[in-house]
């Protein structure tokens, strides 16, 4: 990150074919997100927030313009290079947790480290650290069906954080949780953001999430409508 930016998009456009025409999901997005930000893409359904998250997560390619993630231009990445970027540097948190039901909490969190070929001792330490961050050290041997929704999402956070990625992308992470659990999850992520310096980018329209964001990027019809940065008590951005 030569210029301290984790994400930078320039005139980013994404079009999808619809019948004989096309639907413009993103229409000239210019965005810069720096290291350690706790930002969210906010907007109604169809505003383009998940599409933007897909391109930033190297899961999709832009139609035109550029998206540079961790100094790597997404549009030039091969499938293998994109997978490598996700594996090494990006953590994902999904709305539906997507834990592997037959594996224990420990094994679910361990999985990204297996892909990165860490040795057994390192994996054990890193998984235990990640589980302690989310307060689930006592649940290592439990399996997802034995956990509550909130606990499952905390496991998903631990899985996203265990490799200490530079960037975590979270798509509606509290959509399936009640208010108390949502608060708990968001506090956990906020703490991790503060303590580890990990950049978090959310896609959400949930007020609970929005209230925690330090930067709110409002999307309307594929364009950035507003970009608000929360000021701290000293009036600093």
């Amino acid at each position: 990150m030569e210029n301290g930016l984790v994400i930078e998009t320039k005139k980013l456009v994404k079009k999808f074919p619809v019948g004989k025409g096309e639907f413009i999901a993103l229409n000239g997005i210019d965005l810069k997100i720096g290291k350690g930000e706790f930002a969210g893409l906010i907007g109604p359904s169809g505003s383009g927030k998940t599409t933007l998250l897909n391109i930033i997560g190297s899961l999709d390619m832009p139609s035109s313009g550029e998206a540079v993630v961790l100094d790597r231009p997404v549009s030039t990445l091969s499938s293998r290079e994109a997978a490598s970027l996700r594996k090494e540097s990006i953590g994902f948190i999904f709305q539906s947790y997507n834990l592997l039901a037959v594996h224990t909490v420990f094994e679910n969190v361990e999985f990204p480290l297996l892909l990165l070929n860490y040795n057994s001792a390192d994996r054990r330490k890193m998984v235990n650290d990640a589980l302690s961050w989310v307060g689930l050290s006592d649940k290592t041997r439990s399996k997802p069906p034995q956990l509550s929704g909130g606990e499952c999402q905390r496991v998903a956070i631990a899985r996203a954080m265990v490799k200490k990625p530079s960037l975590v992308l979270a798509d509606e992470p509290t959509a399936n949780l009640d208010a108390a659990n949502s608060h708990n999850i968001l506090t956990t992520m906020e703490t991790l953001n503060r303590e580890l310096g990990t950049t978090f980018l959310f896609a959400t329209h949930d007020e609970k999430v929005i209230s925690y964001l330090k930067r709110k990027i409002f999307l309307v019809d594929g364009r950035i409508d507003r970009d608000e940065v929360k000021q701290n008590q000293n009036g600093e951005k």
């Binding site: 899961l59 999904f94 592997l100 037959v102 361990e110 297996l114």
Partner: protein, 423 residues
């Protein structure tokens, strides 16, 4: 990583146990059915060979032309000399003289009046010579239901069902009324030494078996035999070899006379040709059809297995696992499942085939009235292909199904993963 995947495989019963059970069942059925078809087809050939056709048969030309009518007036003369010649020319074949005949068997009461009688099919063979292979060949000891095997001349065996119909017990006299070699009426008394049951409806319906010297005497056929049967010492009928032997014999004995000897292979007798072809082709066809059917089932199982793990695969792709790696791990899993199921299925299939080979299933109840020589006890016959045949549907189809379903991994758009993983 391998440990992680194995743990997932072993813990997820619908990913391991269920497919292994499906593969095992499919392979077991394939192996068992192949052994059963082999046994059933082979049994029919074997039964016909032992009782009627031999692997090779030498007759006079005229007899051969009317073989189904047992024309003993056209029998081979000087049969002992011919048998000796055959023994020299074909040392790998065991030769046995036979006389087949038809007639009427009369069972008299204590006053000598007919109490019952019925049409009979008779076989004259070597029962009394020491070292005769015929008793073993016709499995007479095990087929004995009452009394004993003939130990002296004028004794005969009668099929058990027939004896019951005639109300004949071991030790009772029976009278054979038939046609002698010279065309006159032959009437000859035998003592029923015992009753036999062969497990073949045709043979058990009405058969008398006597020593060939007694039959020669009864039918006035001194040193004559209707047929000289040859049996390969290896035990199994080899059509190619039989045709070759028959061809070479007939080339040497080219005499045009109607009493000149002629050799026929089993497949050259009656409609056995069709049956021999049928048995080899039919067994293969049935095995292939069944294998294809099982392959489709197991292919489908592999396909469904891949589709069922759509969410898990999506997650792995999103987390940065390469498509090729995901594909390879799925194929490896299917190889493990296919191998486990194939080995288990083959072992179980062979076990059931062995049970069927050893004990058989008695089908006599549904074979009453049949006119062809079908063994009423159905047995399997385990052959070498049974040890590897099941791996075709078990391993190849399972892996192919997974390989096809896995192509979806490459076609999957990562751009849709967020949406797909929301569900």
């Amino acid at each position: 990583m391998i440990r992680f995947l194995l743990q997932g495989l072993l813990r997820d019963k619908s990913r391991s146990l269920l497919p292994v059970i499906v593969v095992t069942a499919g392979v077991m059925l394939t192996v068992w059915l192949h052994a059963y078809i082999n046994g059933f087809m082979g049994d029919i050939i074997d039964t016909n060979a032992r009782f009627s056709n031999g692997h090779l048969k030498v007759m006079s030309k005229a007899y051969a032309d009317n073989m189904d009518e047992f024309p003993n007036d056209l029998a081979l003369l000087d049969a002992d000399s011919m048998t000796a010649v055959l023994g020299k020319e074909f040392p790998s074949v065991s030769w046995a003289q036979r006389i087949r005949f038809g007639g009427l068997l009369d069972a008299p009461d204590k006053n000598g009046e007919t109490k019952a009688q019925g049409p009979v099919f008779g076989i004259g063979l070597d029962l009394l010579s020491p070292g005769s292979e015929e008793i073993e060949r016709l499995n007479l000891k095990k087929s004995l239901r009452s009394g004993s095997l003939p130990r002296e001349h004028f004794e005969a065996l009668i099929s058990d069902d027939f004896a019951k119909k005639l109300r004949v017990n071991p030790g009772d006299k029976v009278t054979l009324i038939s046609s002698a070699m010279d065309g006159s009426v032959a009437i000859y008394n035998f003592v029923a030494s015992g009753t036999v049951s062969f497990g073949s409806e045709v043979l058990d319906r009405g058969t008398i078996i006597a020593d060939i010297t007694d039959v020669r005497e009864a039918l006035n056929m001194p040193d004559a035999s209707g047929e000289i049967l040859g049996f390969f010492k290896g035990g199994y009928y080899d059509d190619e070899l039989a045709l070759s032997d028959a061809g070479s014999f007939n080339a040497v004995h080219k005499s045009a006379g109607e009493f000149a000897p002629v050799m026929r292979s089993l497949s050259q007798q009656g409609n056995m040709d069709q049956y021999v072809k049928l048995s080899s082709v039919y067994a293969s066809y049935i095995a292939i059809i069944f294998m294809v059917a099982m392959s489709l089932v197991l292919w489908n199982a592999g396909l469904l297995g891949g589709l069922r793990r759509y969410g898990e695969i999506g997650l792995r792709l999103a987390m940065g696992e390469e498509k090729g790696h995901v594909y390879r791990t799925m194929l490896t899993e299917s190889v493990v499942i296919g191998l486990t199921g194939s080995v288990t299925g083959t072992i179980i299939g062979l076990f059931f085939a062995w049970l069927l080979q050893k004990y058989g299933i008695d089908m006599s109840g549904i074979m009453k009235g049949t006119s062809i020589m079908i063994p009423s006890v159905v047995r399997a016959h385990i052959t070498t292909p049974d040890f590897y045949l099941g791996f075709i549907p078990g391993l190849i189809s399972t892996v192919t199904g997974t390989a096809l379903s896995g192509i979806g991994i490459y076609k999957r758009q990562t751009a849709r993963l967020f949406k797909e993983l929301e569900v």
